[in-house]
């Protein structure tokens, strides 16, 4: 019965209008958790004071500099237009992708603004960004389930992936090389797994922090306040990795491969691009094209 009640109150916390009096477990555990502070409490303070901001700043600047250098030295991939268009993304896939894309576009900049909120002066602006971060999280939760199931079978490792890594994905040269990648290249696969698995972890830890006083028992953690501390630590560390991969994905789609953005909007890719960037996939569908 108490389990049902706690579940119910957890659901009701989601709706601000119907908040009910919940037992404050953090308060009940204070006698034990205060002397326990040196374990996770001081670790969180140390990480937040010395490391998190540095991690985010270094990741942000390093990726932007690397992408800029790549753009200047190697430049974007351009493929001859053969005129033959092949449909690679159907409408459902595109809708799900763009919902997830919108959620990340909301989450990443607002998250960075929260991390560097001193720079933005705090106050109402950053509080509004926190609300946007919340909306982004809801959008993510909606889109991640169909996103995962529609692509999970395509995202498993394949034989051709090794060759893709050997040629650096074909991105390290101006020449057109056959990369050996299947329907999705290993870079896309890594981003898929990070976005879904780490994204879900981010959602869960963020949800825990959103609850303020989670009044249910959290497995493996003795004290409620420690669960919140661990959630904040995990959220920050994983967010750095997701930030890096998001920026790489953004660069690849907007700048590195010409026509990449268009293909996700229209659903069609040019035959020439598939021949090189997804050569294994092209081998498979080639006979269909000639019919």
């Amino acid at each position: 019965m108490s389990k049902l009640a706690s579940m119910l109150s957890t659901i009701m916390i989601l709706f601000p209008g119907v908040a009910m009096a919940t037992p404050d477990i953090i308060r009940q555990q204070l006698p034990q958790s205060v002397p326990h502070y040196w374990k996770w409490g001081s670790l969180f303070v140390n990480l937040q004071v010395n490391y998190f901001k540095v991690f985010f700043l270094v990741a942000l600047l390093a990726i932007i500099i690397i992408e800029f250098l790549h753009f200047v030295i190697i430049g974007p991939k351009k493929f001859r237009e053969s005129g033959k268009k092949i449909r690679v993304y159907n409408l459902f896939v595109r809708i799900v992708h763009w919902t997830a894309a919108l959620s990340f576009t909301l989450l990443v900049p607002t998250g960075l603004i929260i991390v560097f909120s001193k720079f933005f002066g705090g106050d109402g602006f950053v509080r509004a960004m926190r609300s946007l971060h919340f909306i982004g999280a809801i959008l993510f939760a909606i889109s991640v389930v169909p996103l995962f199931f529609m692509w999970v079978l395509h995202m498993l490792p394949e034989e051709g992936d090794i060759r893709w890594f050997m040629v650096g994905g074909g991105y390290l040269t101006k020449k057109e090389v056959e990369t050996g990648a299947g329907r999705f290249n290993p870079g896309q696969k890594i981003w898929f797994w990070i976005a879904t698995v780490f994204g879900t972890l981010l959602f869960l830890t963020g949800f825990l922090m959103y609850l303020r006083k989670p009044n249910f028992v959290i497995p493996f953690v003795k004290y409620q306040i420690d669960a919140l501390r661990l959630a904040a630590i995990t959220h920050n560390l994983i967010a750095v990795i997701v930030l890096i991969m998001f920026l790489v994905h953004l660069y690849m789609s907007l700048f590195a491969v010409k026509g990449s953005l268009k293909s996700m909007i229209t659903g069609y890719k040019d035959e020439e691009e598939l021949k090189y960037m997804h050569s294994s996939f092209y081998e498979k569908i080639k006979h269909k094209l000639n019919e």
Partner: protein
């Protein structure tokens, strides 16, 4: 700033009778919402005969306060007398101060959009906040400024058994010493609860 100029709370576990008077005085006197408890009375070893005792804890106004260190907007400031205060206009309600606090002192009303955390609220040792002293804004956001009036904070002022005392660290220590001597316990043999965490260097 000399060593003993710090303001400290001390709760005597031999005197606290678990009446929750300090909690009520703080909530009513500062017009706090229902789910905000700046001060909490907690019971140790509940149900164990002879070992059960109660203490009233709130913000301990730590030296090198961890909340002030982790705050991403740096909205905290520590007064010369050691009282830790924060600026509610700057606060973004991220909750990091709660995770950093050993004592669970920072409280968050649920008044942000979508039921997210509102701006943080915590014990000010009845010293108001950064808003102009005795202004309407200060009273609304931070509660009474009894320190500026030359009065003792509400909780300690109403404590019927004088278990909760507050003041200059030197005076507080002297009162504790005198009480121990009167009881025949000799000198203070252990640090008061939480002081080793709140004031590690003093």
């Amino acid at each position: 700033m000399y060593k003993y100029s710090r303001m400290k709370f001390y709760c005597d576990e031999n005197r606290c009778i678990n009446c929750h008077g300090c909690e009520v005085a703080c909530q009513v006197g500062n017009d706090l919402p229902v789910d905000i408890a700046r001060r909490k009375v907690i019971t140790f070893n509940e149900g164990i005969e002879g070992k059960e005792y109660s203490l009233s804890i709130s913000c301990m106004h730590c030296t090198d306060a961890p909340c002030a260190q982790v705050c991403p907007v740096q909205c905290f400031y520590i007064r010369e007398d050691g009282i830790v205060l924060h600026d509610k206009d700057k606060c973004i309600g991220c909750g990091y101060c709660l995770y950093a606090c050993p004592f669970g002192a920072p409280q968050f009303p649920k008044d942000g959009a979508f039921g997210t955390r509102g701006v943080m609220d915590k014990c000010t040792m009845c010293a108001g906040g950064p808003a102009p002293t005795f202004s309407e804004k200060e009273k609304r956001l931070y509660g009474q400024n009894r320190i500026a009036e030359g009065k003792v904070p509400l909780c300690a002022a109403m404590c019927s058994t004088n278990a909760l005392i507050v003041g200059d660290a030197e005076h507080v220590s002297q009162i504790i010493r005198e009480r121990r001597m009167a009881h025949g316990h000799g000198v203070l043999d252990e640090t008061p609860y939480g002081w080793d965490i709140a004031y590690p260097n003093e």
